[in-house]
């Protein structure tokens, strides 16, 4: 299949809006919010600890900073829509690799292997939601420093809804 045609780069720069700060719409319903916030924080800590080792750097000082990584997270997050009330959300984690153009637009996006989307309808729907998120013109092109293109020309986005799991 041909990579999806990129429309994002046709968007004028002003079309890229900074996503508004969002409150989890389920905060008022799910009782586990406290725990979730904790897990979110610990995830950030883990990312912080992992990032330097996980990135091959061309030259010292050209690594993506934590705030740049956080900016990507904040940019994609508003476009990741997940069906509310899904059962066993923890099993619906999907990793999607994206190939980016220099202007931050997504050239191609593919589901990383391991996700058996052909046999599992729920996982397939979750994977589609991830593909939609990275392709959504509302959340693209990604705002990343051009001088670090080698660092971010291929990224893996790990869409992990496990904190919604009621199990």
């Amino acid at each position: 299949m041909k990579p999806p045609k990129n429309t994002a780069k046709k968007q004028p720069p002003k079309a890229v809006k900074k996503p508004p700060a969002r409150k989890d719409p389920l905060d008022s319903v799910f009782k586990t919010v406290g725990k979730l916030k904790q897990s979110q924080q610990s995830d950030r800590d883990r990312t912080a600890a992992r990032t330097p080792a996980g990135v091959k750097t061309a030259a010292r000082g050209l690594r993506l900073t934590l705030s740049e990584i956080q900016a990507v997270r904040r940019q994609i997050q508003p476009c990741w829509n997940f069906p509310a009330g899904a059962q066993n959300a923890g099993a619906l984690r999907v990793r999607i690799t994206i190939w980016l153009n220099r202007d931050g637009s997504v050239r191609d996006a593919k589901i990383l292997d391991g996700a058996d989307t052909s046999r599992n309808a729920k996982l397939r729907a979750a994977a589609d939601a991830g593909i939609r998120a990275v392709n959504n013109p509302r959340c693209s092109p990604l705002k990343l420093p051009p001088e670090k293109f080698d660092q971010w020309k291929v990224l893996t986005i790990d869409f992990d809804p496990s904190k919604l799991s009621s199990e």
């Binding site: 990741w80 829509n81 069906p83 509310a84 009330g85 619906l92 959504n136 904190k163």
Partner: protein
């Protein structure tokens, strides 16, 4: 009403094309990974184009089908239909070759196109496609056919196919709801069984109102209802065949009978029987008519409901001094209390997907509808009211229906999804209580 045989065959004909095959080698895993763990729950923007038609009659059908599909998907709370006046590509070419940039431009993330035909044999045929706008992939392609009078079921089946593909879970649109319709003055209340499609259409009464009826519940085939009817002071458990109207008495039991409900295999009915003032849970084999007593306790045990695999039963009991929820094995062994918070708990109902138990809770003078896991953990309140009672599950276990009555007002049915954020009133011609949601209808 069952669809004719050709429809059944056609329903299974899935023209899936371009199924996603997006796996890439693990080498990509070495790249920087950015984890996102807080998804949104905004409705997915979907463009629902009325199916193409070649004459006015067909156009009328196409418009009505698109209307039902739109109402179904929007009613689920998971989709937002884009106003058709915003559509750019509207010349019919979108049926087979959507210009995805046009649809992206109006914010659509999914697109439904199709064609409708009135056939000379009196059938309606619809061919429809669901497209992923971002990638241009066709996600679903199906053809359905039925008699013209059944056009609503065709729209419901189409809605279910779209819902299933986009959420990964089965739909609930091709279903019906039975409930108790109430009318007349307080001292001479008439209570009739009534049935309607899940969206309120095709409403009709099933009993004549001569006797008081209570607690209707569907059989697993959705073709039969078991319910209580009072003949004088004496309650009887009946089974009613919805389409033929034929009914039979399951049993006249000594003492009072309450809350009969089918087992998941349809072979048994579980209920509570009160003898000498002590209510216990009994199961009755519908073939042999033999009853088996499942609980033995001087307290009131009632409202039994099977787990979807038939292995366990949830019920409520005041054996601890207050009404709480208990789970036991289907043979009555291993009774265990699962609700441990303050308040009275009643009418527990096991979800068709097994992960949750819905209940009514009464605390501090207010009623609540909530869910908890079968081990009692994770209790969440979804709705509340002056009087709110009697939850029943949609067959996919993501939506509940119940009835609510404001102080001094009339009883009305409501649906709500598991987030508790999408509560919708149902329109019924009379006061409505005690709903029961059917399984998905069979072809």
């Amino acid at each position: 009403m069952p669809l004719p045989a050709p429809v059944s065959r056609l329903c299974r004909r899935l023209f899936m094309a371009g199924l996603l095959a997006f796996a890439v080698p693990a080498t990509a895993a070495a790249q920087l990974t950015i984890r996102i763990d807080d998804p949104n729950f905004e409705p997915l923007p979907i463009a629902i184009v009325a199916p193409q038609a070649s004459n006015d009659d067909e156009r009328s059908t196409a418009g009505r089908i698109a209307g039902v599909v739109t109402a179904n998907l929007e009613g689920s709370g998971l989709f937002r239909a884009i106003d058709p006046s915003a559509f750019v590509q509207r010349d019919g070419s979108e049926v087979l070759a959507p210009r995805f940039n046009d649809w992206k431009g109006i914010g659509a993330e999914a697109l439904i196109t199709g064609r409708v035909f009135h056939r000379t044999n009196g059938d309606i045929r619809i061919e429809f496609r669901l497209w992923d706008v971002a990638t241009g992939r066709q996600l679903v392609g199906r053809r359905l056919e039925t008699g013209r009078a059944n056009w609503r079921r065709l729209a419901h089946k189409m809605s279910d196919a779209i819902y299933r593909r986009l959420t990964g879970e089965s739909g609930y649109f091709d279903t019906r709801v039975v409930y108790v319709a109430e009318s007349g003055p307080v001292l001479k209340r008439v209570k009739r069984l009534a049935i309607m499609d899940q969206d309120g259409a095709n409403h009709r009464f099933l009993t004549n109102g001569k006797n008081l009826v209570m607690t209707p519940r569907f059989s697993p085939s959705a073709q039969e209802i078991t319910y209580l009817e009072f003949v004088g002071e004496q309650p009887r458990v009946y089974i009613l065949d919805i389409d033929s109207g034929q009914r039979e008495i399951v049993g006249e039991f000594e003492g009072m009978t309450f809350a009969p409900r089918f087992s998941p295999d349809g072979n048994r009915i579980v209920m509570s029987l009160a003898r000498d003032g002590n209510s216990e849970i009994y199961a009755m084999d519908l073939r042999t008519r033999a009853t088996e007593r499942l609980t033995r306790h001087p307290a009131i045990d009632t409202s039994p409901s099977y787990a979807p695999d038939g292995s366990r039963i949830v019920f409520d009991s005041d054996r601890s001094g207050r009404q709480k929820i208990y789970v036991m094995n289907a043979d009555g062994s291993g009774v265990r209390r699962i609700s441990n918070r303050p308040g009275r708990y009643a009418t527990p109902v096991w979800s068709p997907r097994g992960d949750l138990i819905a209940f009514t809770k009464l605390e501090a003078g207010a009623f609540f509808i909530g869910v908890m896991q079968p081990n009692g953990e994770g209790e969440r309140i979804l709705a509340q009211g002056y009087l709110a009672e009697g939850p029943t599950w949609a067959p996919n276990g993501r939506v509940l229906m119940y009835y609510k009555k404001p102080r001094g007002g009339t009883a009305q049915l409501y649906s709500i999804d598991l987030t508790g954020r999408n509560e919708r009133p149902m329109s019924t011609p009379e006061d409505a209580s005690d709903p029961a949601w059917s399984p998905l209808l069979e072809d």
